[in-house]
């Protein structure tokens, strides 16, 4: 991995945040159906102040995931979130049939 790629890599960012003493949550797309914009395995990492890096949907559900992540950081209990990607978004990515994603949110440590 080159230096530029490392700067943008959310799992390296998560480790950096952890070493800096921050609380970190990791959200991961675990399944997709239809025209989901990000493939399974994509990550979004969130710190306790709501800062985030990466993406699980290309922008449509990130704010909801960040809000749920705050809850996960407090309780320490992982959560499975399900989203139907809004029709408009699905249309923008080139398919009008909509898509569904499941996102697993867990606390680091």
């Amino acid at each position: 991995m080159n230096e530029q790629a490392q700067l943008n890599d959310e799992l390296i960012i998560a480790e950096t945040w952890m070493k800096a003493g921050k609380e970190v949550a990791i959200a991961t797309v675990v399944s997709t159906w239809g025209s989901a914009p990000r493939p399974s395995g994509s990550h979004l990492v969130i710190d306790e102040e709501g800062n985030f890096e990466g993406s699980v949907s290309g922008g449509c559900v990130e704010s909801a995931v960040v809000a749920e992540a705050m809850d996960v950081l407090t309780t320490g209990e992982p959560k499975m979130l399900e989203f139907g990607v809004a029709d408009e978004t699905a249309f923008e990515v080139g398919l009008s049939c909509g898509g569904n994603i499941r996102v697993y949110v867990e606390r680091l440590g």
């Binding site: 390296i12 480790e15 675990v30 399944s31 680091l108």
Partner: protein
């Protein structure tokens, strides 16, 4: 996620080692499985599948649901020789999503002008590959047909178990190359992995057609590679 697992995962990715992060979605426990350290049973079979395809997915085993997240190093194509064939390979590789770099100690050939947007090293591969070693997720194509330039990287690619090793040259040229490689300590099994004549047999004649044949052979080798 276990912080130690995250650290191991980042080390593996930085070292270009393929691995799968296995998360039990019922209890949240996770572990990292590196290629070459395989797991028994149904879960092991599912892990092997995602390592080969690179497609992460969930799998139901008994009562538990697991998420298998595959992290494969991006395949890297190293071409020895800044010639017509490699000039045509570079854009094909880019379109197909493979990183490609060119090494040629003949600085008149290895110029950035001839390879816009592609990393070009006007150095001996002995020097370049000691800084950026080959690995199992690299393909090496040697297309200068000059033994002084091609022999070392071909031997190096075999020693590092590159998923593809191809070398340009007629059967006669290759015959002589085999003799030199054997004398250099390369085994017959390793030699049998060399694709020579290089490229799928599609009757390619021009450098551009040979580039298509070589890229197709590399893609085929990648999708049919074995696991370490």
């Amino acid at each position: 996620m276990d912080p130690l697992v995250l650290k191991k995962l980042n080390v593996a990715r930085n070292d270009r080692k393929a691995c799968v992060l296995v998360t039990n979605l019922d209890d949240g426990r996770d572990r990292l499985v590196l290629e070459g350290h395989m797991v028994e049973g149904e879960l092991g079979e599912a892990i092997t599948k995602v390592l080969l395809t690179g497609k992460s997915n969930t799998v139901q085993i008994g009562k538990a649901e697991f998420f298998l997240n595959a992290y494969l190093p991006p395949p890297r194509i190293v071409v020895i020789g800044a010639v017509h064939i490699s000039q045509a390979m570079a854009p094909i590789a880019k379109m197909a999503g493979y990183d490609l770099e060119v090494i040629d100690p003949r600085s008149a050939f290895a110029t950035q002008e001839r390879f816009e947007g592609t990393p070009v090293y006007p150095d001996w591969s002995e020097d370049v590959l000691s800084q950026k070693p080959l690995d199992a997720y690299c393909a090496l194509a040697a297309v200068t047909h000059d033994p002084k330039i091609d022999d070392f990287p071909v031997a190096e690619a075999l020693r590092h178990n590159c998923f593809y090793v191809g070398a340009l040259g007629s059967r006669k040229t290759h015959g002589k190359r085999v003799e030199r490689l054997l004398a250099d300590g390369i085994t017959q099994d390793q030699i049998d992995r060399i694709k020579a004549p290089i490229g799928l047999d599609i009757g390619a004649a021009s450098p551009q057609e040979i580039a298509v044949a070589v890229m197709a052979e590399i893609i085929d080798a990648f999708h049919n590679r074995g696991l370490g």
